[in-house]
Amino acid sequence: MSNIRVTVRRRATAAFAQGIAFGMGILTAGAFGAPTAAAQEELFIGGALSLTGIQAPLDEPTLRGAQVAVEALNEEGGILGKQIRFVNLDGKSDPATVGNVAVQLIEQGADMIVAPCDFDFGGPASRAAQNAGLVGISTCASSPLYGSAALGDKQFTASMWNTTMGAAAAEYAFKEKGWKTAYVVTDTFIDYTVTLSRYFIEHFENLGGTVIREDKYTQGAQDFSAQLNRIQNLDEKPDVIFISSYMPDLGTIIRSIREIGIETPIMGGDSYDDTGLFAALGEAHGNDIWFVTHTYMKEGVAPGMADFLEKYEEVHGEAPDTSFTAMGWDTVMIMAKAAEKAGSTDGDKMADAMEEMTFDLLSGKLDYSSAEEGHYPYKEGALVELQNGETSFIGWMKPTNPPAP
């Protein structure tokens, strides 16, 4: 009798374990398109985007956007007459894992690699692609390290660099708003947060503005009281506070500042582009905030936006809530157009085509410099304003003479 009970219990445990494995499978595999092995008439795009961990809030929307692009392209006959198979393996916000899953995808026959939205987390995927002679494109890494100089001659980012992002913010602050003094808070977390502040400061000072101080913060510290105390005790009140940080701590920082009644305008980069942040700040604290991001989810902002919004809703059953979804779409579209122009998925041919072409994307026009010049992405930033917890699109901004990386 007891033996039977034991077996039943073991079976139940095994079923439970399978259930868990299945759940994890959904998270890690997330295959889109036909789940068959790579055949000749298929074109295989591998993704190493992180669906878990700190990078997930940025990577998950880009994955959703990429999936929409793959569906849309397949409906129109795919790339080079081949249907696209897109598989994403969870990079888990861990650089080593990101590199490993990229290698795994390449071994399975990937023709090109979609890398995560950051240099520190996404770089390993591009390195794996470069080693295999494939084109790798990061969906939205904006560190100037994301290019051919650090990663290789077949590696690109679909995003503007922080040189553009930081300078666009500085130029809007100084020229459009007339703010002459800035206080900068830099999260020392990753290259993105550090270089964004650096180029904001450089351009703001070049324009003639004064940076009162650059204060530091570390992601995960969860305690902003010291920095807040220093802002409160400033002799001279700044015209604008530039905060280069990341969610979730970005929410804590802005809230802490607004809570104690500091109403100074706040500016930042694309990490602000998160409905989670707008909602967390709400009507009470979500005021006088401007940020530079990739695009804005509204018809007419860029050609093809209406089409994207419609298709996104068809595939996912809801409207996109952040412009990062467009970056996933753009990344796949860059790959598609480059492969069509090159007439092949060969890494060298595609990279050459990408250097020559001008892309008309949901995130504006994009031109790459040559590999010798680092694959500099010439792009505009989208300026978005947050008032009463609601965003509105201000316009495109191309800074004049942005700082050199």
């Binding site: 669906l51 809030p57 204060d215 570390t218 305690d223 009281s225 929410g251 009644g261 009470a284």
Partner: protein, 291 residues
Amino acid sequence: MGDFTYLLISGLSLGSLYALMALGLVIVYGILRLVNFAYGEYIMVAGYTLFLLSPSPLPWLVMAVVAAVMAAVMSYLTERIAFRPVREKSLTAMLITSFAVSTLLQNAALLFVSPRARVVPTPGIFSETVIIAGNVTPVREILAIVVSVALLIGFSILLRKTILGIALRAAADKFTMTRMLGVPANLVISAAFVISGLLAGIVAIFWLGRTGSVTPGIGLTPLLVAFVSTVIGGMRSLSGAVVGGYVLAFVTIIFNNLLPGDLYEFREAFIFTIVILILLFRPEGLVRGRG
């Protein structure tokens, strides 16, 4: 003077939360010798409960109570479903189980909600400020101190005056002996997990109130903080956990405020140097427990 009060209030407010977190972790450790790595996830559960309740017309206080209770229920369930079956096996089995529970809960949040931040409702009073010694201070910080101190007092009365409390303390001291004297082990362990979860739930209200949002990975920092606090304070003593929490918070706040900009990046290194120094001189922590 203004700066000093500011440091004091920041330190007390952060320290109160740290102390409660540490207490929640050590109350289970004391009895089972298990560092429950799923502890941070109870904070996450409370957060998502708040998020799910936010469309309802319930007053905020009710939501907060439900959220804290949900954390306690989750803690109880993990003990009942995950830990109890492996309790007799080995300590390592339980430790691995606690990692499994943590991963499972985090992935559940990822799958069923979203990897992106979700908003938790906060009451108006959390955004209000008062001026103390010339510093604008959020009322939330004062509330955190008051609630935590009240809880700590209530908890120590529970431990000293009630039968359950005496059983808990006895179990933490000499578990086998306590069982031999007729105290039901399952009841004591369940009670410890419920209290542990409840403390996590209450901490969650204030911890999440700082950001106004919850993410699947929100529990990691509280778990680490609680763990380091208990190590500083003494793993075998409940009061040690509280002391450790306040010490860690003050060390953090002092370095935050006094380190010059260039050294701030190495803040953690400074904090942990202090922790190492404490452990060199007091290897068993600041407060030595018995047994």
